[in-house]
Amino acid sequence: MDINSNKYTYIFAVVMVVLVAALLSIAATSLKPFQDKNVELEKKSDILRSIGVEGTDVDALFAQYITEQLVIQNGTVVESEITAFDIDMASAVSLAVEQRQVPLYKAEVEGNTYYVLPLRGKGLWGPIWGYVALEGDGNTILGATFGHKTETPGLGAEIATPIFQDQFPGKKLFTTAYEGIEVRKGDAAGEQQVDGISGGTITSVGVQSMISDCLQPYKAYLMNIAANTAAPMVDTLGLTADTTLITAAL
């Protein structure tokens, strides 16, 4: 058969495409379990990293430290047919705040209770996400980690580096009412402010609105925890110690 005839060319193209499609589908299907496992491990290690736990055996560490996985809607714990870990944050945040079912991870590290909340929002080029871990008072931030899909390297992508993330520990989500964290341009001083990234303004603002938006469903739940732990939190001794330090510094 003439290999340059039209008939041969069509047959060749069809056979080739069908073969390649079959080969690729087989490969994709057989590798899927491994890829899903990697994604799951990454999610677990992100959650653990926000409470300051790192290690190689992520599955074991996750089982050891994460004691409860709750589903929250409108500030209360609800029963849901989907488990907290399997909730897809991307579709959750697209709903109205009252309808969202969002996960809350409770962790126990050396006798302290921490709460880990997932975040999901928009950066400049694509989605950004992260986890914020709160201390037992449901208010003070213990740690925060952020990730992004396609932010500009060196600018917006810096939210995924310690330079940005290390500002979060110790910050507070609310004083009297829920307020969130404000990303400032260079003059962050307050308990609710962090410095944004130069040249990454849209991503920085994205982080701010992501935090404020994603924490809405938890508001009532967190303020409840805060109210219950408020009494021991006001520690007069601690306050005097702080004032002495400040006077000394002056």
């Binding site: 290999i3 340059n4 041969y8 060319t9 060749f12 193209a13 080739m16 495409v17 390649v20 080969l23 690729l24 490969a27 994709a28 590798l31 491994f34 890829q35 990697n38 994604v39 491990l41 990454e42 060196g154």
Partner: protein, 219 residues
């Protein structure tokens, strides 16, 4: 060595060996033909992604050369570029899936650049210029040689960029271990920026031309 001399060309005849070694120096795809520069800028910040990228390209060039060479008498001339693209694209998707399944962290660092292997001129160039007109064994050697030459340059560039820019090699803190920081040594952050990859490649070209006079253009 077998006692009876085969009638056809030996597997590693001088000509075949040169298919493997030529791309490493006198016909290097990056430093002489200046192909594949884009990915050389993008993924040479650290050594590990550079090694994985080099290996991926090596696998893809070798396999693509082998497959197209096996099919070379069956491919209709009018759609040969499309056939080459399908072969390369299928191989690249396979490599991408395997990386995602087994070296997930590296695959995330390489991100779009694995997919962009498809557009790497070295691969299409070798298929079009070599494997469509040569036997499978020669094509495999040619693919191995060019893939290795590409990967080799990536690794050299990444070695200097990670060492001088970040003070580490394969994430191992070499500079800290040598104690240079205590003597006031500082990492050069500029090495991590893309332009420095070009400058390092240019320095490699300089060294190579100084050592191989035949590459120097006569005015």
């Amino acid at each position: 060595m077998s006692t009876e001399k085969p009638a056809k060309e030996a597997l590693f005849s001088k000509k075949n060996r040169s298919l493997l070694t030529d791309p490493l120096n006198a016909n290097n795809p990056i430093t002489v033909q200046v192909l594949g520069i884009c990915s050389a800028l993008a993924i040479t910040v650290k050594l590990k992604p550079a090694i994985v990228m080099g290996l991926s390209v090596l696998v893809v060039t070798t396999m693509a050369n082998l497959i197209t060479s096996l099919m070379r008498n069956m491919i209709p001339n009018r759609i040969r570029i499309i056939v080459q693209l399908v072969v390369v694209a299928a191989l690249v998707i396979l490599v991408d899936q395997v990386l995602k399944a087994f070296v997930y962290d590296v695959s995330k660092q390489l991100s779009v650049f694995v997919g962009l292997i498809i557009t790497n001129c070295i691969i299409m160039g070798r298929i079009e210029a070599f494997s469509l007109g040569n036997t499978p064994w020669k094509s495999v050697l040619d693919g191995l040689g060019n893939g290795a030459a590409y990967g080799g340059i990536l690794i050299i560039v990444a070695f200097f960029r990670e060492l001088l820019g970040n003070g580490t090699l394969m994430d191992y803190p070499v500079v800290e271990w040598m104690g240079l920081y205590d003597l006031g040594y500082k990492n050069n952050g500029m090495m991590l920026l893309p332009p420095m990859a070009l400058i390092v490649v240019a320095l490699i070209i300089w060294v190579q031309r100084a050592k191989t006079p035949s590459l120097i253009e006569k005015d």
